[in-house]
C-alpha cells in the first residue's frame, strides 16, 4: 500500500536522494531536444540533437551543443521541417558520440524536456542499441508542468495550449525559432524558469515538493 502511494505521489520511480531535497535554484539542469524522422519512435531516426545547461535561473550559452546526426534510409517529411537537407545529414556525426556524452550527465543533471516521453523513448532505444548499462535519469517535463499550470489557473487546456511556442507566449517570453534542436532546448529551459518562478516565487521549494505537478519523472534508460 505504501509503495502504491509512493508511486502515485512520486511517479514511477522515486527521485534520487541527491536531487530530492535540493532547492530548484540549486539544481543543475540540462535541457535536451532531439529531432526525429518519424513520430513513431520504433521507426524513427534522430536527425539532430541539441542541448544546453543552466543553473540558478541562469543559462550559460557557452554550453550550447548542437549536431546534425548521420542517418540512413527514408527521411520522410521531418528533416524538411527541421531545415536539414539530406546532404547535411550525410555529413553529420554518429549518434553514438552524443549518447555517450549524455551518459556522463545522467547523474549530474536533471534533464529537461518539452514532452519527455518521446525523447526519452528514443534515447532509451539508442541506449539499448549501444549496449550501455541501464541508468536512471530524473527529468522535468515542461509540457506536463504547463498542463498543471493551465489546469490550476484556467481549469482547462486550450487547444494547442501546451505547444512550446504557446507556453512561452503564456509567460510573455519572446518568440524563438522552432524545430531546431538547440533552439528548442534553449526555449524549453527558459520556459522552465518562468514556470518554476510562477509556481514558487522564492525558489525555496524542493524538487520533491514539485512532485504533485506530475511533471517530475524518473526513467530508466536502456531498462
Amino acid at each position: 500500500m505504501l509503495d502504491f502511494i509512493k508511486k502515485v505521489v512520486l511517479g514511477r520511480h522515486p527521485i534520487p536522494d541527491k536531487f530530492k531535497h535540493s532547492r530548484y535554484s540549486e539544481l543543475p539542469f540540462l535541457a535536451i531536444d532531439l529531432e526525429f524522422t518519424d513520430l513513431d519512435t520504433d521507426k524513427a531516426k534522430v536527425t539532430s540533437i541539441g542541448w544546453i545547461k543552466g543553473q540558478n535561473f541562469s543559462i550559460n550559452l557557452n554550453t550550447a551543443h548542437y549536431q546534425v546526426v548521420r542517418a540512413k534510409g527514408d527521411l520522410k517529411q521531418s528533416p524538411v521541417i527541421h531545415g536539414l537537407t539530406a546532404k547535411e545529414i550525410a555529413k553529420g556525426s554518429h549518434i553514438k558520440e552524443h549518447i555517450l556524452q549524455l551518459e556522463s550527465m545522467v547523474d549530474s543533471h536533471v534533464w529537461i524536456f518539452h514532452n519527455a516521453n518521446l525523447d526519452i523513448k528514443m534515447i532509451s532505444k539508442l541506449w539499448k542499441l549501444l549496449a550501455l548499462p541501464p541508468k536512471t535519469v530524473t527529468t522535468i517535463d515542461t509540457m506536463l508542468l504547463q498542463i498543471y499550470v493551465l489546469e490550476k489557473s484556467q481549469g482547462f487546456i486550450p487547444k494547442g495550449g501546451v505547444q512550446l511556442s504557446s507556453c512561452r507566449k503564456y509567460f510573455s517570453l519572446p518568440p524563438a525559432p522552432e524545430h531546431n534542436a538547440l533552439d528548442d532546448a534553449l526555449a524549453t529551459l527558459s520556459l522552465l524558469y518562468a514556470q518554476l518562478y510562477s509556481l514558487n516565487k522564492n525558489g525555496h521549494m524542493n524538487l520533491i515538493e514539485l512532485s504533485h505537478t506530475r511533471a517530475i519523472q524518473t526513467f530508466t534508460l536502456g531498462g
Binding site: S25, F57, S58, H65, A194, Y197, N202
Partner: protein, 610 residues
C-alpha cells in the same frame, strides 16, 4: 566548440546598435553570454554576480537605477548597467522587478571591444548623456541651408557711389573679380549693378561709359538681412529670378556682403528646391494651379534622403508663400492696387515653415487702418480670391476658418494690438486654445512694416508671467505616447495598430515648448529651429537642451515626412513597424526628453503647477 543559438543571434541582429556589428562578432557575443530569468527574489544575487556586465531585456518590466540619474522604467529591447561600463565607475545597480523576465547578460569584455565600432559607441554614449543619437542631423546634406547668412558671407561687398562713372565701376569689378557692385549712398543701399546690366544697358545700347552708374543701376534691389538663412536666400533668388543678393546688417542696414547663385550651387545638392523656381514662373491662375499640383508628386519622387526631409517643410511653406504672392498679384492685375497698406499674415505651420502635405491654410490680413465700406469690399474680395486660389493649389481651406476670408481676421494694426491685450488679460484655457495658433505668425506678402509694428506691441505683452504660466500649463496638457514602462502607446482605432500620432503627441509639444521659451525672451521669429537657435541660456534652457530639442525636432520631422512620402498618405500616424531598431530607440529617447522638457517648463513658468 560551442554552438550559437539562433534565437539569441536573431535577437541581437534586430537590436540596435548591435545590428551594426558583423555577424561573426554577434555569434561570438551570443555564444559567450548568459541568459537569466530575473525576478524580485533573485535580483540581489544576480546583481552581485553580473554587476559588471551589460543587461539587455528580452522580456519583463523593470524599474532600474544604474547611475546618478533618475530611475528608468524599462522593458523589452532596453539596456541597462552600461553607465558603469562607460564611466568605469561602479555605480550601485538597483532593480525593482515589476514583472519578471529574461535578460541577456553580455560580458563587459565583449561590450568594451564592440565600443571600438563608432556607431555602436555613439549609441551608448548618447543614451548615457540623454541625447538623441542623431549624428545624421548634423551630417545631413541639407543642414547648411539652416546656416544664417552672417556665417556664410565673410567678404565685404564691393561698393560704389551713385555718381561714379560706368567705366570706373567696370574697372572696379575687374579689379575685385566680381560680377556685381552695390551702389551706396550715405551708407544706404540704393542700387545694384551686375555684369548683365553692363551688357544689356550699356554696351547693347551704346551708352556713354562716362555716365554715372545711377543711370543704369537697378534701383531698390531685393536684399536680405544677415540673420536670415541660406534657405531664405535660395527662395529669394529663385523668386525674383536674380543671381545676386545683397546682404545687409540686420541692425544698422549697412551692406555686409553679397550672396550669389554660384555661392549656393556650390553647396546645393537637393533638387527639391526646384519646386520654388518652378512655381515662380507661373503667369496666371491655371499655370499656378497646375504647377502646385505637381508638388506632392515632385516631393515624393525627389525627396529620398534624410536631408531632403529636413527642408521639405520649408520648401512647402515657401511654395505656399509664393502661391499667395502670385495670387495677390493676379487679383491686383484685375482689380487694381489695394486702397491702403496691408500685410498678408500666415500662422501655424506655414509661419513656422514646417508645413507638411495636408496642412491647411491659416492666414489673415492686417490693415493699415480701419477700412471704409468700399475698402472693406476690396479686401474681402482679395482675401476670398487668395484663399480660394490656395485651395485650388492644394492648400486646404481651414476647417477652423482661420483665414483672411473670415472678416474677423481682417483687422487694423490697432485693433490687432487691442486683441492681443485681451488675450493676455484673460488667458483662460478655452481662449488659449483659440489664440495659440496666432502666436506663430509671419508676414508672407504686402507691407511687412505693419506686421513689425504689431510685433513690437506684442513682445512685452507675451512676456507677462501670468500669460506664460497659462501657456506652460497648456504645454503640459498633451503627453508623449509612452507608458510607465517606456512602451509605445498606440493610437486607438487607427487603421494600423502600431500607429503613433507624431504631430499631436510629439512635434506639436516641442513647438509649444519652444514657443513658450521664445516668447518669454521676446523673440519674434516663428520657426522652431530658428527659435531654438536664438533662445539664450538665461531662458532656463541649457545649450545642451536646445541642441537636443533641435535634433529631436528634426528627427521627428524626418519620420513624419518619410511616412507621408513612402506610405503616400497625408496623415501624421507613423507606424512603429516602419522604423528601424535604432529609430525605435531614438523615438523612445525623444519622447522621454520631451517629457522632461515639459516638466522643466511647468516648473519654470507656472511654479510647478501643471
Amino acid at each position: 566548440m560551442s554552438e550559437t543559438a539562433q534565437q539569441i543571434l536573431d535577437f541581437l541582429e534586430q537590436q540596435g546598435p548591435f545590428d551594426e556589428l558583423p555577424t561573426e562578432r554577434l555569434k561570438e557575443i551570443a555564444q559567450n553570454s548568459q541568459l537569466i530569468y530575473l525576478a524580485d527574489e533573485n535580483k540581489q544575487e544576480m546583481i552581485e554576480q553580473y554587476g559588471r556586465e551589460l543587461f539587455i531585456i528580452q522580456s519583463g518590466q523593470f524599474a532600474v537605477k544604474d547611475c546618478d540619474g533618475p530611475i528608468k522604467h524599462l522593458s523589452d529591447g532596453d539596456y541597462f548597467n552600461f553607465p558603469s561600463l562607460l564611466d568605469d565607475v561602479s555605480y550601485k545597480l538597483s532593480i525593482v522587478v515589476d514583472s519578471p523576465g529574461l535578460i541577456l547578460i553580455v560580458n563587459h569584455t565583449y561590450f568594451t571591444s564592440a565600443m571600438d565600432d563608432p556607431k555602436f559607441s555613439r549609441f551608448f554614449r548618447a543614451s548615457h548623456n540623454d541625447e538623441l543619437q542623431n549624428q545624421a542631423v548634423t551630417d545631413a546634406n541639407s543642414m547648411w541651408l539652416y546656416k544664417p547668412l552672417s556665417e556664410v558671407v565673410s567678404k565685404a561687398p564691393v561698393t560704389i557711389a551713385p555718381t561714379a562713372s560706368i567705366q570706373s565701376c567696370a574697372q572696379k569689378m575687374k579689379k575685385h573679380k566680381v560680377s556685381s557692385v552695390l551702389v551706396m549712398e550715405e551708407q544706404k543701399l540704393i542700387g545694384i549693378i551686375t555684369d548683365r546690366d553692363l551688357r544689356n544697358r550699356v554696351v547693347a545700347e551704346g551708352l556713354n561709359i562716362q555716365f554715372p552708374v545711377k543711370q543704369v543701376m537697378t534701383e531698390n534691389p531685393a536684399f536680405l538681412t544677415n540673420h536670415k538663412t541660406i534657405f531664405d536666400a535660395v527662395g529669394k533668388l529663385n523668386e525674383f529670378g536674380i543671381n545676386h543678393l545683397p546682404v545687409l546688417d540686420a541692425v544698422t542696414g549697412e551692406a555686409v556682403g553679397m550672396i550669389t547663385n554660384t555661392d549656393i550651387s556650390k553647396q546645393q545638392r537637393s533638387n527639391v528646391l526646384f519646386i520654388i523656381s518652378d512655381l515662380s514662373k507661373s503667369e496666371n491662375l491655371s499655370e499656378l494651379v497646375d504647377r502646385s499640383w505637381q508638388i506632392p508628386h515632385f516631393l515624393s519622387s525627389s525627396a529620398k534622403r534624410a536631408g531632403d526631409f529636413d527642408i521639405a517643410g520649408k520648401v512647402l511653406s515657401q511654395a505656399t508663400d509664393i502661391m499667395t504672392r502670385k495670387l495677390i498679384t493676379f487679383f491686383q492685375q484685375k482689380h487694381g492696387q489695394a486702397p491702403m497698406r496691408y500685410c498678408w499674415l500666415v500662422y501655424g505651420s506655414q509661419a513656422r515653415e514646417d508645413q507638411v502635405m495636408g496642412s491647411d491654410q491659416d492666414n489673415a490680413l492686417l490693415l493699415e487702418r480701419d477700412p471704409n465700406e468700399q475698402e472693406a469690399t476690396y479686401f474681402e474680395e482679395m482675401a476670398g480670391y487668395v484663399c480660394m486660389g490656395l485651395a485650388k493649389c492644394g492648400i486646404k481651406l481651414c476647417p477652423g476658418n482661420i483665414m483672411a476670408s473670415n472678416p474677423e481676421l481682417r483687422n487694423s494694426v490697432d485693433e490687432a494690438i487691442k486683441e492681443s491685450e485681451r488675450w493676455v488679460r484673460s488667458p483662460t484655457p478655452k481662449a488659449m486654445l483659440h489664440f495659440n495658433i496666432f502666436l506663430d505668425a509671419r508676414a508672407a506678402a504686402g507691407d511687412t512694416s505693419l506686421f513689425a509694428k504689431l510685433q513690437e506691441a506684442r513682445v512685452p505683452l507675451f512676456k507677462k508671467s501670468m500669460f506664460l504660466a497659462a501657456l506652460a500649463r497648456q504645454v503640459n496638457e498633451e503627453s508623449v505616447p509612452l507608458s510607465m514602462f517606456q512602451k509605445f502607446v498606440y493610437v486607438k482605432n487607427a487603421e494600423h495598430k502600431d500607429s503613433i500620432d507624431i504631430k499631436c503627441s510629439a512635434v506639436a509639444i516641442i513647438n509649444s515648448l519652444v514657443r513658450l521659451y521664445a516668447l518669454s525672451e521676446g523673440l519674434k521669429m516663428p520657426a522652431t529651429v530658428a527659435r531654438l537657435k536664438n533662445i539664450s541660456t538665461a531662458s532656463g534652457l541649457s545649450d545642451k537642451d536646445r541642441n537636443n530639442l533641435r535634433d529631436i525636432w528634426l528627427f521627428l520631422n524626418r519620420l513624419r515626412w518619410r511616412h507621408q512620402l513612402t506610405n503616400k498618405v497625408q496623415d501624421n500616424l507613423i507606424r512603429v513597424s516602419d522604423l528601424s531598431s535604432i529609430e525605435k530607440h531614438q523615438l523612445k529617447a525623444a519622447f522621454q526628453a520631451i517629457h522632461r522638457a515639459q516638466q522643466g517648463a511647468v516648473l519654470k513658468f507656472s511654479g510647478g503647477i501643471g
